[in-house]
Structure formats: C-alpha cells, structure tokens
Amino acid sequence: MNIINLTRDYDEDFVHRVEEESGQKVSLCYQCGNCTAGCPYTFVYDIPVSQIMRLVQAGQKKTVLSSKSIWLCATCESCTTRCPNNIDVACIMDVLRHMARREGLAAVPQVKTFWDSFLDSVRAHGRVFELGLLINYVAKTGRFWTDMDLGPKILPKGKLAMKPHEIQGKEHVARIFERFERESNS
C-alpha cells in the first residue's frame, strides 16, 4: 500500500476546486460512513464513497479522479439525503466526474461511452433516440452482445421506435451543445 506524504502530496488546489465547483465544504465530513452504508453501489466500487470523501479531504487528486467509483455512482442521492452534515455528496461525485473528464480520465470507459452516446443522440435529434443510442454504444464499445437477449422481448411490443423523433427545434438543442463546447474551451 502506498504511503501518502501528507505534507507533499496534499493538493490544495484540488480541494479548493472541488469545494468551489460543488459548493460543498469537504471539511464538514467527519467520516461517519453513512454514505457508504447507504450506497447501493458500494459492492462495485473500488473505493467506497466515504473514503472518496476522505481522499478529497486529503487532497489526493490522482487517486480520486482515477477511481472507478466516480463512474459507477448513479446519483441515487442516498448519500446526500442521509448525510448528517448536510453535504451534497452526490454533487461532489458529479464534480469529480467533471474533473476526471477534463483530465481525460475514465476508469470505467463503457459508462462514459454510454453517457456520451446518450448526449450525442440528444444533440443530433433533440430527444433521445433509444434504438439509435444502443446501436451507437455498441458500435463504439464493440460490446455487440449488449442486451441481445432482450431484443425478442421488446421488439414485438412496438415500443422501440425505429426512427428518431426529430423535433423542430433540434438545432436549438444542438446550439446549446455548441455554445457549451465553445464556453468550456474558452
């Protein structure tokens, strides 16, 4: 196990950025573990959420941003709801994902790919085109077996549209994405 040198390895800027972007004060956390206790995803996390909070407090940017946990959090808000110190933990997890994206990190790539495919679909059509999203995701990840078993169950129900529902204002939506990219690159 790595020894952390708390004087040298403490990334003050990282702590500051997390606090600023989330609007949360991480020093409020007293490590009771309630977030971990309630988190439905703890079993797949590489670092439980309470330890993510601890590592943020300790300024351990690299460990946190390269963790799988931040990509496996579903924002179910259990942690935020039950935190005795009123910390919006789910928001901090969101912010950590934002930061990881900026650093080019994604420890669970298929989750990021799925979310990106989703947003691509919104950007292209104004609304999500479910079948298109799935096809796009499969194409990007090569995970061609994804949900193949469900096809026979759902296709006959006539629920999955074969064509996207294009909206009239889809270029409005596309412009939101364009402006967002411009703003974040400036």
């Binding site: 797949v44 799925f114 949900d147």
Partner: protein, 293 residues
C-alpha cells in the same frame, strides 16, 4: 373541476415507456386534470448531462421550462423522476445569479426561472386529490396485493424534491389504497434499482433489481407498482437477466401505478397498455380480483 398543467412526457414516453404515457394521459383526462403538451419539447439530458456538466444539464432543462413559460403556464408535470430531478435541479441552481448567467449564455432564449416542475404522482395527489380518485373507482382492486416502489430520486434529496417523506414515501401507497388494493409495506421503496447501468454494467443492475424483487416477493406482493420508466425496465424487461444472474425464477408483474389506476377506473385496455409489459399483469390481476388465490 378541470385543471390544466403543462405536460412533459420525457423521451422514454415515446418509446420504452409508451404505456406509462398513454395510461397517464387517460387517467388524468378522466380525473379532470388537463395535461397540455409542450410544443417541441426536447430531452432534459437525464443523468448523462449532469455527469458531464451542470451548466449544460441546466440549459437542456431550462429550454423546456421556458417553453412552458411561453405557453403562459407556470407549472409542468412529468411522469419521469429523472426528468423531474433535472428540471427541479435546474430551477434550484439558477437561483444563483452567476450560474443563471452561464446557463442563459447557452440558450437561444433565456429562462425566466418561474416554472415549477412536479411529478405526475404529485399532481394526482395534490391537484386532483385522493377523494376524487376514490370517487372515480369503478372496479376496486380488491384482493390485489401491491408493493409500491418509488425509485431512488422521486423524493430525494428532500430539500430539492419537496414532496412526500423521503425515506417512507406514501403518495403511491395512498393512491393504490384508494383504488381498493391491499398495499403491502415494502421496505425498499427508495432503494436504487441500478438505474441506467443496465446497458454498460448489466451485472450491477441485475444485482440491485434482484434485491428489490426478492423483497417484493418476500412481503407477499402480487405485483410491484412503479412510477419510473427506468425502474420499470430494470424490474420488468430485465427480470430475466436478474433471474439468470441471481439464480432465481421470478415472474412478477411490474406495472406503472397509472396503469393500475386505469384498471380501477375502467379505462380502455388500449390506453392501459398492459400488452406492452414484459410480464403481463392481467393473469395475476384477474386471479386476485376474482378472489381466487
């Protein structure tokens, strides 16, 4: 008494949760709650948007809220908790002027910030009321044991959602009780089902949904009533994946609560759309309603 509220069906309402959309529309119409479609609404961005950026996420929601404002209305109802969370979060975050400025920069038309978003569930409880629902029951769901599952974000975090009890919500229970069903106390009402990990991490979703199905069967429920398209898909469509992963053999129907309202209110089968579910609730339903067990 006819009340009007803007209606935001959400993308899945056009696809995987069509039956939620049709049953919601039919039930609300029958109860005098007029749902007015938002012209040319777009996707709220759902979870993927807020995991990418909060400004982007808020802008995608704000576009729709402003469309509602342009209709001259001040409130919108949505059946989908994920849409609801995004719409409400956008409203909450833009209370801070610097954030609002950033959002407005992304939009064609800035959002004024004065459209409230609530769930269809909340609209049914608060705008329509249990008494009206009770009075509209034609076929009481007597003998049907239902577990009400709300999903993780219908009521959380409580400061944001500002509806019902966040640990033990009762709105859906009360509606189903009003329909005459026997509501069994379901302890995992607000546990997460695995959300959108069904595609990228089916193992995760299978495990979490499996726990929910286990608990529902454990409390003797005939079916699980839900209020979220994603929950419905995970518990119903992916039930076979759960069974495979957990070595179980569940076959429990997972209808939307609006579908059960439709049954009790004698709404047309085409609107209820039970045929679109994976596990068809009708056999269980007719067995329970006929008193045979």
């Amino acid at each position: 008494m006819s009340e009007a509220i803007a209606y935001y069906p959400g993308c899945s309402g056009l696809g995987t949760s069509k039956e939620y959309d049709t049953s919601t529309r039919a039930v609300c119409a029958a109860l005098g709650l007029s749902l007015v479609d938002i012209p040319d609404w777009s996707c709220c961005g759902s979870t993927p948007a807020h995991t990418k950026d909060h400004t982007l996420s808020a802008a995608l929601s704000a576009r729709n809220l402003q469309l509602v404002a342009n209709m001259g209305m001040t409130a919108a109802a949505t059946p989908c908790p994920s849409c609801l969370t995004n719409l409400r979060t956008a409203n909450h975050r833009i209370e801070a002027a610097p954030f609002k400025a950033k959002v407005d920069k992304l939009l064609d038309e800035p959002y004024g910030g004065d459209v409230n978003a609530i769930s269809v569930l909340q609209a049914l409880v608060e705008n329509v009321g249990l008494d009206t629902i009770k009075a509209a029951v034609r076929t009481p769901l007597k003998g049907l044991k239902v577990a009400c599952y709300y999903g993780c974000i219908m009521n959380r975090p409580p400061e944001l959602m500002a509806f019902d009890d966040c640990e033990n919500p009762m709105a859906m229970d009360n509606i189903l009780a009003a329909l005459g069903a026997e509501v069994v106390p379901f302890p995992l009402k607000v546990e997460c089902c695995g959300a959108s990990y069904g595609i990228p991490r089916p193992d995760v979703t299978a495990k979490l949904s499996g726990k929910l199905l286990e608990a529902a069967v454990g409390v003797g429920a005939d079916m699980v009533a839900v209020a979220c398209p994603l929950c419905q898909m995970n518990l119903d469509l992916r039930q076979s994946q759960v069974n495979r992963a957990m070595g179980t053999n569940y076959r429990i129907p997972v209808p939307y609560f609006t579908q059960l309202m439709g049954v009790a209110m004698n709404i047309a089968d085409t609107e209820i759309g039970f045929g679109k579910l994976n596990v068809d609730p009708r056999p269980v339903l007719s067995r329970a309603l006929s008193g045979a067990d």
